[in-house]
């Protein structure tokens, strides 16, 4: 079976592609961050009204919601690559899963951290064992567990398969996090955390929030590809193409 896209599945051919894509994603990240932060700070109301009269601190939403979304999305991406790796035995897929994990963990931590600083002024507490908060914390432990399990096994291929399986089992947390506040009957998922409903958000606030989400996503690509390139070099260090690359570098 020689599908065309298998060509890109080889670490040797993806290494230079990733190298060319990294600056593109960095530029997109910075551009979107600049727009999102400017809009979030200067084009949105300084306080909220109606049934949710929060003051300036509501602006944490521009970091908090995008990082929470990315924490869940990157976990799905991680599991996707891990599953492809298990089925097709492609080396690059496992490397991809490995490269995504730290960025996902950082976003999960950021969501929890900014949530704590938002919870203190609005709800009155940094932390509470609310279903949404607890399930997000479990997601953080899953990322850490994946990274720890992978680094605990010396044989890379065994480490890849074992941690991929852990990641797949952990996928259970993503729907749990989503349903912890968005179940159809509000009485069944009574929580401290409010439900989510994008139609009840002011246009300017929504715009900054979505721009920041895109910015974080682009950052995710940039960081993952940078990490991927070092993983490729480490794992393929013995291969001729890496040796040739090193020789070319030395001569230059």
């Amino acid at each position: 079976m020689t599908l065309n896209w298998f060509k890109f599945a080889s670490p040797a051919s993806f290494y230079p592609i990733a190298g060319r894509l990294i600056p593109v994603f960095w530029i997109l990240t910075l551009l979107l961050l600049a727009i999102g932060l400017y809009w979030g700070f200067f084009e949105t109301a300084s306080k909220l009204g109606g049934s949710n009269p929060q003051k300036e601190y509501y602006r944490i939403i521009f970091i908090h919601v995008p990082s929470a979304w990315m924490s869940m999305w990157l976990y799905i991406v991680l599991v996707g690559w891990a599953a492809i790796g298990l089925v097709f035995n492609t080396r690059l897929s496992f490397m991809m899963a490995n490269a995504v994990a730290p960025t996902g963990a950082i976003f999960t931590f950021l969501a929890l951290w900014t949530g704590a600083f938002w919870g203190r002024p609005s709800w009155g507490t940094y932390w509470d064992w609310d279903p949404r908060l607890t399930s997000e914390l479990v997601l953080f432990f899953l990322y850490i567990g994946y990274i720890a399990l992978h680094s605990a096994i010396d044989d890379t291929r065994r480490a890849d398969r074992a941690s991929a399986l852990l990641a797949i089992v952990g996928l259970i947390m993503v729907p749990v996090i989503f349903w912890s506040i968005n179940c159809p009957d509000p009485n069944q998922c009574a929580a401290l955390h409010q439900r989510s409903n994008l139609t009840r958000i002011d246009g300017n606030i929504l715009f900054s929030m979505l721009t920041m989400t895109l910015a974080f996503w682009m950052y995710g690509f940039a960081a993952t590809f940078m990490r991927l390139r070092s993983i490729i070099l480490t794992r393929e260090a013995e291969n001729t193409w890496v040796q040739e690359l090193l020789n070319a570098r030395r001569q230059a």
Binding site: G50, N52, P53, G124, A190, I201
Partner: protein, 156 residues
């Protein structure tokens, strides 16, 4: 069956298994995730009598009363069906106000007053600047009024 297809089946089964497990877990948890009890449940004696639990509901309008020390607050929590009296000594969160959501952690006193150790404010998912929020309210009120008028015209 090729080795790759076997692995595909294996991974597919693993994902299906996880999905089934999560569905079962969520179904089992339905209604059992009592993060807090509603005033109705408290009145119906469904809440634990002997240890700490949380109640959640709305602060009844016009019931917030402060004692002379300035720190102890009394208020009623309602779910629009039943009401529980709450006493709390401490600093209330910024968003605590009458008619708004609240979650209180504490014990039920012998006289039926809930003695709160911690009071948290709940807020909803509406993120609107004050002027937009007030317009929305007015339009909503107008809409309700119009529907009422139409309904009365229809009956006449």
């Amino acid at each position: 069956m090729k080795a790759r297809q076997k692995r595909l089946v294996f991974v597919g089964l693993a994902v299906l298994g996880v999905a089934a497990a999560s569905t079962l877990a969520l179904t089992a948890l339905k209604g059992n995730i009592s993060y807090f009890f509603s005033p109705s449940q408290v009145v119906a004696n469904e809440a634990p009598q002997d240890h700490v639990f949380r109640i959640g509901g709305l602060v009844t309008e016009g019931t917030v009363r402060r004692e002379g020390d300035g720190l102890t607050v009394h208020f009623d929590v309602t779910d629009n069906a039943e009401t529980v009296k709450v006493a709390y000594t401490g600093i209330l969160p910024d968003l605590f106000s009458e008619g708004k959501g609240v979650v209180a952690k504490g014990r039920l006193g012998p006289d039926g007053v809930f003695l709160a150790e911690e009071v948290l404010a709940k807020h909803d998912e509406e993120y609107m600047p004050p002027e937009v929020a007030s317009t929305l309210k007015t339009t909503h009120a107008e809409g309700v009024a119009e529907t009422a008028i139409q309904a009365s015209e229809a009956t006449n």
